[in-house]
Symmetry: C2
Subunit: 303 residues, 2 copies
Amino acid sequence: MSKLIECIPNFSVSRETDPVVFQGLVDVANGVPGCAVLDVQTDGSHNRCVFTMVGSPEAVEEAAFRLAKKAAETIDMNKHVGQHPRMGATDVIPFSPAMDVTVEECVELSKRLGKRLWDELGIPVFLYENSATRPERVNLAKIRKGQFEGMAAKLLEPEWEPDFGERRPHPTAGVTAVGARMPLIAFNVNLDTDNVEIANKIARAIRGSSGGFKYCKALGIMLEDRKIAQVSMNMVNYEGTPLFYAYEMIRALADRYGVRIIGSELVGLTPAKALIDCAEYYLKLENFDCRKQVMEYHLLDME
Amino acid sequence: MSKLIECIPNFSVSRETDPVVFQGLVDVANGVPGCAVLDVQTDGSHNRCVFTMVGSPEAVEEAAFRLAKKAAETIDMNKHVGQHPRMGATDVIPFSPAMDVTVEECVELSKRLGKRLWDELGIPVFLYENSATRPERVNLAKIRKGQFEGMAAKLLEPEWEPDFGERRPHPTAGVTAVGARMPLIAFNVNLDTDNVEIANKIARAIRGSSGGFKYCKALGIMLEDRKIAQVSMNMVNYEGTPLFYAYEMIRALADRYGVRIIGSELVGLTPAKALIDCAEYYLKLENFDCRKQVMEYHLLDME
C-alpha cells in the first residue's frame, strides 16, 4: 500500500507580478523527492499562485514546509496588492487524501506542519476545515476576515488566539491557515434554459446550507456566451455526497421546471473513485470492489 | 509518460497437480524488476495456471520469456492431463495495453517475444488475435485445435506452418501462441426473470457474431442459485464497444420482453478508463479529458 496525500498550497505572489519570486517557489516545489507537482495556477490580478502536489505524507509535508519557508523569505505582505482575500505569504495549505489515507491522517499531518511553521519560521497558524479546533474556525473565510492588514489586531481578540504561535503575525509573512479536507470536485451541470432563476432554485434545493446534500455547495449562474443557465457546484466530500446524487436530483428538479440537462463539466482534477462510483451506480454493479478490481490501483501499489 | 503493458500468460500446470513446478513459475514471475504480478489463478481440474502481470514493455517481455523458459524446463506435455484445451507448456501469452501504449506496440512486442521463443528455446510460435498473420489465426481455439497430441501432424499441414520456428513441436514444451489484444472485461447483467430464453435472445441481439456490437461476445445463462437469467459478456475492446453500449441495449431489449435489469457484475480486473467512460456518458460530461483530469493518471506518471 502506498499512502498518497494531495497538498494544494496558495501563495501571495504570481508569475505576472513577480516572476523571480514565483519561479523560486516552483523550483523549491520541484526539488522534493517523492513529491510531484501536478499543476501550478498563477493569477496576476489576484497576485496569487496555487500549487497542486501529490506524494507520500513525509514528502508532501516537507515540500509544504520548504515552500512556506521560501515564501516567508521572499514575499513581503506589507507590499502585497491583489484582488483575492489573503492573510499570509503562504496563505493556506490544505491536505487531502489521494490514496490509502484517511482524512484523520491528513489532520495529523496538518497539525505537525502547523507546529513547525511556528517553531521554525515564527508564523502563527490557524487550523481549519477538518483540522479546526473549534466550530468557527472550520470556514477559511471567517479566519481570513480582516486580511493581512487586520491580523495584528484580530490575533489579540480573545477568540482568535492562533492554534500554534503567539498573538502576533509574522512581520512580513503574516498568518497561515493549515488544514485537512476531502478533495474538492468542481462539478457544473448545464440546463437547456436561459432562465438563471431555475438554476438558482435548483442550486438552493440541492446544497447543504439550505437543506440539500450535506457536502454539496451550489449556486445558479448564467453562461452568457452560450445563453444557458448552469448549476455550479463544489462537491466537498464525494464519498458522503457522490456526484450522481447531485446529478440525479438536478435531473428530477429540472423536469419539475420543464427543462433538461444538456451537459456537465468537471473543472480541474478529480479522483478516479468519484467517477467510478458513478459507473457503479448507473451500471447497477453488484459486489464491486474498486480497490481490488480496477487495474490502476494495483499499478499504483507497484511503486 | 510511463508505458505499461499487461501480460496474462497461461501455463499447463497447477498448484494442485504439481506444487513444486507451480511455485517455480511463481518465483520466476516475482523475480523480474519492473514487472508486478497482480494475480495468479490456478485450477487443478484444468491442470493450468494463469498469471496477471503488469510492467514496462521491457520488463513484461523479459518476465514472459523467463517464464516460458522455466515452463519448458519443468513441464513435460507428454505427461499432462487436464480438462482445458492446451498445446504447450506455455500455452498462450497475450499482451494488452495498460497505460500509454497502443495495441500496435503490443503486437510488436508479441513478435519480438515469439522470435525469441523459437531462437532461444526451440518452441514454435503462432501469432494470434491482433498479431495474427492471417485471418484463420486470429482465433486461438482454431490454432489450438488438435491440442498438444495433434501438433506434430498439424504443423506439417500446408496452412499451419508456425509464424516462428520449424514444422515440429518442442518435444516436451509443445507449441505456444503469442499475441496482442485489448484488455478483456468480463461483464454480466442480471435480469429479474427465471426465463433464460429471454437472456439468450438479448445475448444474440447484442453480440457481434450475430449482428450486434462488434467487440461484444455474449450468451444467456441461468444463475441456478438465484433463479435468475443473466446476459454473460466478454467485452473484448472497451474503446470500440463501451460497457454502456451493452448495458443500454440490454435495458432496451429487456423492456421489450417486459423484464428489468436488477444488477450487473464485473469479474476480475478492469481498466479504470472503461468505468470512467461510463461516468462520462451518464453524467453527460462535456470536454472531459480523462488522462489530464483524473488524478490517478498523474500519480502513475510520477514513477
